[in-house]
C-alpha cells in the first residue's frame, strides 16, 4: 500500500513555531480545541506537550508485547477498554495540556482615567473566570525554567537517573511534532466505535466525526498524545495531514510555511501484510530496522507491477520513485522514526541533529568541519547521543551514531568542494557512501527546491468533485448542511447540545468566522453560548455575551458594546 509520509531535518529547525501557528490558524482556531496543537514544537530536553507524554508507565500509550510475545495494546485489550469506558483511568486532564486563556483586553480601552495603567487580566477560556497562567504548550521553550523542572524530561530519566543539566554540558534542539500517521495506529485500535480509520489510498489516519462517540480511548491509545478531545463537540480530533491540500497535490500547511524548509513529504510503498510481524519484533532496538524492511523499493519492477495490480495509479508509483522521504529513509539511511519502541510504526521520521556535536567541537576551539574531529566527538559525547538514541532508536546508539557520522562526513566533504579543494574520496568511503551519492544527499538536504521536497501526486481528477472542499457542487449541499437541516455554516448549536446538527467543513466554519469578525460591529460570538466565548476570535471590540457574569446594573452582557 502507499503511505504519505514526512521527514523533518532537525538540524534546520530554529524553533520559530511558524508551523504550529499556521496549523492552528487552519485547523484548531475554534472553540473546543483552544488547547489543541495538531503541530507543536518542543524544546528538547524538555517535558513536551502534553507534559511528560512519553511516560508510558503512566499513560499506557501504544503497543507492547504480551507474555506470549504477541502484540497487545499497552492500556489493555478490548474487554479492559470496555470495562473502563465510563471513566478512562489514563486520560490526560486539561491540566496536563494547559488551561487555555485569553486576556481581558477591553479593560485597556474602556478603563476610566486612573493613576495606574489598566491591566488586561488573563481569563480562562473554559470558565470565563480570572485565571493564573501556569503552563502552556511550549512553556519550557528554549530550556526556559529547566533549572526548576529540567529533571522531569522522560527521556533524560531513561538515560540515567543522575543526569543533571549542567550548564557546560547543555545541549538543545527543537522537535516539531505532528500526528505520525502510523502504519499500526494504536489510536485506531483503541477506538471502541471504529471511528478512527486509515485511508487505504494514502495511509492518512482520520477520525470520522460522524462515528466518533467521544469514548476518549484514542487519547490514551496514542503514545504521542496526538489525538485530542474537542471539549465542545465531545469528539476526538487529530492532525489530518492536511488531506484536502494533499489530495490536490500541495503540501501540508506546516510544511508549506516552514521557514527552515526542513520538511519533506513523499510517498512510501509498503507491504501491509508484514506490518504486524515487524511491529511484533521481540527486541525494542530491532524495531527501526524491522520497519525499514516493511518498506518496498519502488524502483523494483516486481514491486511496481504488484502495486499497479493492487490499484495504485501509475503516477503514484512514479512519485514514489522520486520520493524524498524514500531517499532519506532507505537510500541514504539518515532518517529515523520517533520512538519506534511504541510499536506503532510511525511514519513521520526525523534526521537527528548534528548541531549538539558541532557546537561542542566548535566551542572547544577545534575545527568543527573536520570529519576526524566530528567522528571523535560523536563517539565521545555520551549524553547527547544517548538522548537522541532514546528518542529515535529505542536507546540503541549505533544507528544514531551512523547517521550523525554521515551528516558529519557530508559536512567535511562538502567544505572541500565549496572551498574549491579536491574532494577527499576517503570521507564518504568511511561512512559507506560514494562521493556521488554524498553529493546527491547534500543536494537533497541543502538545496532541494519546493518540488523536490514535496513530491505529492494528486488524487485523480476523475475523483475531484468528491474532494472535501472543492466547490463543484452547491456548497450548502453537504450532509447535515443548512439545506439538510443542519446548524449551518456558522458552526452554531443545534437543539441537542453544542455543535449538534452536523459539522461544517472546517474551511467553511473558518471562512464565516473570519468574515463575521471582520465585518461585524458586534464582537464575534460564534459559539453563542453564555459561558464559552471563543476569545481566540474575539477582536477586542465590545464585550461578548458571557465573557463576564451578568451584572444587574448592566442588564444584558451586550450593554457594554464598544464604540
Amino acid at each position: 500500500m502507499a503511505q504519505m509520509a514526512m521527514v523533518m531535518n532537525l538540524d534546520k529547525c530554529i524553533g520559530c513555531h511558524t508551523c504550529s501557528v499556521t496549523c492552528k490558524q487552519v485547523w484548531t482556531n475554534r472553540s473546543g480545541v483552544e488547547y489543541v496543537w495538531f503541530n507543536n514544537v518542543e524544546t528538547r530536553p524538555g517535558q513536551g506537550y502534553p507534559r511528560r507524554y512519553e511516560d508510558q508507565v503512566r499513560w499506557r500509550g501504544g503497543w507492547t508485547l504480551n507474555r506470549r510475545g504477541r502484540l497487545a495494546l499497552k492500556a489493555g485489550g478490548r474487554f479492559r477498554k470496555l470495562s473502563t469506558i465510563f471513566a478512562n483511568p489514563r486520560l490526560p486532564g486539561i491540566g496536563d495540556y494547559y488551561e487555555p486563556w485569553t486576556y481581558d483586553y477591553e479593560t485597556l480601552t474602556h478603563a476610566p482615567p486612573q493613576d495606574q495603567p489598566p491591566v488586561a487580566r488573563p481569563k480562562s477560556l473554559l470558565t470565563g473566570e480570572d485565571t493564573r497562567i501556569s503552563w502552556s504548550a511550549n512553556w519550557d521553550d528554549d530550556l526556559g525554567g529547566s533549572v526548576e523542572h529540567g529533571d522531569k524530561d522522560v527521556v533524560l530519566a531513561e538515560i540515567s537517573a543522575k543526569v543533571t543539566l549542567e550548564f557546560d554540558k547543555t545541549f538543545m534542539f527543537y522537535l516539531p511534532r505532528i500526528c505520525e500517521h502510523c502504519l499500526n495506529p494504536s489510536c485506531a485500535a483503541s477506538c471502541p466505535s471504529g471511528a478512527i480509520y486509515k485511508r487505504t489510498e494514502d495511509g492518512i489516519v482520520l477520525v470520522d466525526q460522524d462515528r466518533c462517540r467521544g469514548w476518549r480511548m484514542c487519547v490514551t491509545g496514542c503514545p504521542y498524545k496526538k489525538v485530542y478531545f474537542n471539549h465542545r463537540t465531545g469528539k476526538a480530533e487529530k492532525c489530518t495531514f492536511c488531506f484536502p491540500r494533499v489530495e490536490v497535490g500541495i503540501p501540508t500547511i506546516c510544511s508549506e510555511t516552514c521557514v527552515g524548509r526542513l520538511r519533506y513529504i513523499g510517498l512510501m510503498l509498503y507491504d501491509a501484510d508484514r506490518v504486524l510481524d515487524a511491529a511484533s519484533t521481540p527486541d525494542d532496538t530491532g524495531l527501526y530496522e524491522a520497519q525499514r524492511q516493511v518498506f518496498l523499493d519502488p524502483h523494483d519492477p516486481r514491486v511496481a507491477a504488484a502495486a499497479e495490480r493492487d490499484g495504485i495509479p501509475h503516477d503514484w508509483i512514479e512519485a514514489a520513485r522520486r520520493s524524498p522521504v524514500h531517499a532519506l529513509i532507505n537510500t541514504y539511511e539518515v532518517a529515523l522514526p520517533l520512538h519506534p519502541e511504541y510499536r506503532t510504526m510511525p511514519m513521520v521520521w526525523y534526521i537527528p541533529p548534528l548541531s549538539p556535536v558541532v557546537d561542542v567541537v566548535r566551542d572547544t576551539g577545534h575545527d568543527a568541519e573536520d570529519s576526524g574531529n566530528l567522528f571523535a566527538a560523536i563517539d565521545a559525547l555520551r549524553i547527547p547521543i544517548e538522548y537522541l538514541a532514546e528518542l529515535f532508536t529505542a536507546g540503541d546508539t549505533a544507528p544514531v551514531g551512523a547517521v550523525l557520522r554521515r551528516l558529519a562526513a557530508m559536512r567535511a566533504y562538502m567544505r572541500d568542494i565549496n572551498l574549491g579543494r579536491d574532494p577527499d574520496a576517503r570521507i564518504p568511503e568511511r561512512v559507506g557512501m560514494t562521493g556521488e551519492s554524498m553529493y546527491e544527499m547534500y543536494r537533497l538536504l541543502a538545496l532541494a527546491k519546493y518540488d523536490e521536497r514535496y513530491v505529492i501526486p494528486p488524487a485523480h481528477a476523475e475523483q475531484a468533485h468528491g474532494l472535501e472542499e472543492l466547490a463543484t457542487e452547491c456548497s450548502l449541499d453537504y450532509d447535515g448542511g443548512p439545506g439538510m437541516g443542519g446548524a449551518g455554516p456558522a458552526g452554531g448549536s443545534g437543539p441537542f447540545g453544542e455543535a449538534s446538527g452536523g459539522a461544517p467543513p472546517i474551511a467553511v466554519e473558518n471562512f464565516h468566522m473570519l468574515k463575521h469578525r471582520q465585518t461585524a460591529d458586534r464582537p464575534a460570538d460564534p459559539s453563542d453560548k453564555r459561558h464559552r466565548v471563543n476569545l481566540l476570535n474575539w477582536d477586542g471590540k465590545g464585550m461578548p455575551a458571557g465573557l463576564f457574569p451578568r451584572r444587574r446594573d448592566l442588564g444584558d452582557g451586550d450593554a457594554g458594546a464598544g464604540p
Binding site: 465510563f86 471513566a87 495506529p185 466505535s193 471504529g194 485511508r199 466525526q209 471539549h231 450532509d479
Partner: protein, 240 residues
C-alpha cells in the same frame, strides 16, 4: 378514559417517539451523537461517580428485563417462588439502585460545583438530569415503600403483564388499576424519559460499542466511500 390515555396511548406514543426520534437524530444529527464527556475538565469525582452510576444502572436494566419481560409462571416453573424472587430482586435491585443513585448524586454534584463542567451543561442536559433523577428516585421509593409497609408488592401480576401486553399490541390498561401510585408514577416518568431520550445525550446508550469486541483492531477505509456525502453526480462516478 384517563387510564386508556395513560396506559394505552402514551406507551405507543413513547415507542413511536423513541424509535422515530432515534432514526431522525441518526439521519440528521450524527455529529451530535456523542457522550459529551467532560472528563477532560475533571477526573477525580468522575472516576468514582461515573462507574458507580453506569454499572448500577446496567444491573438495574437487567433487573427490569428480568422483572418485566419474564412471566411469573416461568420463574415458578423454574422452581423460584415469589418470596425467593422478591428477596433476590430487593437485595440486588436495592444495591444496584442505591449505587445508581449515589453515582448520579456524585455526578450532579460534580456538574454543579466544577466550573468548566457546569458551564458545559446545556438546558437540555439539565432537563434530562431532572427526569432521570425523578425516574430513579420514584423507582427506589416504590420498592422501598412496598417492602417496608406491606411486605412487598407483586408487580409481576399487574405491571409486567401490562408491559408485555403493550408489545403484543393488545394493551390491557385495566391491569394498571389499583397498582400502587408510586409504581404508576415510576412507569409514567419512565415513559417521559423514553420520550425525551432521542433528543438528549442519552443517545449514546444505543451506540454502546459492543462491536469493538469482534472487529479487527485497525480499520482501513477507502477515500472513495466518502461516507456521509452526497452521491456522485451522473457522469462523475468513478470508472470501474
Amino acid at each position: 378514559m384517563i387510564d386508556a390515555l395513560l396506559w394505552t396511548a402514551l406507551p405507543y406514543v413513547t415507542i413511536a417517539v423513541f424509535v422515530l426520534g432515534h432514526y431522525w437524530r441518526y439521519r440528521y444529527d450524527k455529529f451530535g451523537w456523542t457522550t459529551r464527556s467532560s472528563q477532560l475538565y475533571e477526573s477525580r469525582l468522575l472516576r468514582v461517580g461515573s462507574p458507580l452510576f453506569h454499572f448500577g444502572v446496567l444491573v438495574v436494566l437487567l433487573g427490569h428485563i428480568g422483572g418485566l419481560v419474564i412471566p411469573e409462571r416461568w420463574t415458578d416453573a423454574a422452581g423460584i417462588g415469589e418470596d425467593a424472587y422478591r428477596a433476590a430482586a430487593v437485595v440486588l435491585g436495592g444495591i444496584a439502585g442505591f449505587c445508581t443513585l449515589a453515582g448520579l448524586a456524585i455526578l450532579i454534584y460534580r456538574r454543579r460545583t466544577v466550573g468548566p463542567v457546569f458551564s458545559a451543561t446545556t438546558r437540555n442536559d439539565k432537563l434530562m438530569y431532572a427526569v432521570l433523577t425523578l425516574v430513579i428516585v420514584l423507582g427506589l421509593a416504590a420498592t422501598a415503600a412496598a417492602n417496608a409497609a406491606a411486605g412487598g408488592y407483586d408487580y409481576r401480576l399487574t405491571v409486567s403483564p401490562w408491559f408485555r401486553s403493550v408489545f403484543y399490541l393488545r394493551p390491557k390498561a385495566e391491569l394498571m388499576d389499583g397498582v400502587p401510585v408510586l409504581y404508576q408514577a415510576h412507569a409514567l416518568s419512565a415513559l417521559v424519559l423514553f420520550c425525551i431520550w432521542p433528543f438528549t445525550r442519552l443517545v449514546h446508550v444505543l451506540t454502546a460499542p459492543v462491536g469493538y469486541l469482534t472487529r479487527p483492531y485497525i480499520v482501513y477505509r477507502s477515500r472513495d466511500e466518502r461516507l456521509g456525502e452526497a452521491a456522485p453526480r451522473r457522469g462523475w462516478q468513478q470508472a470501474p
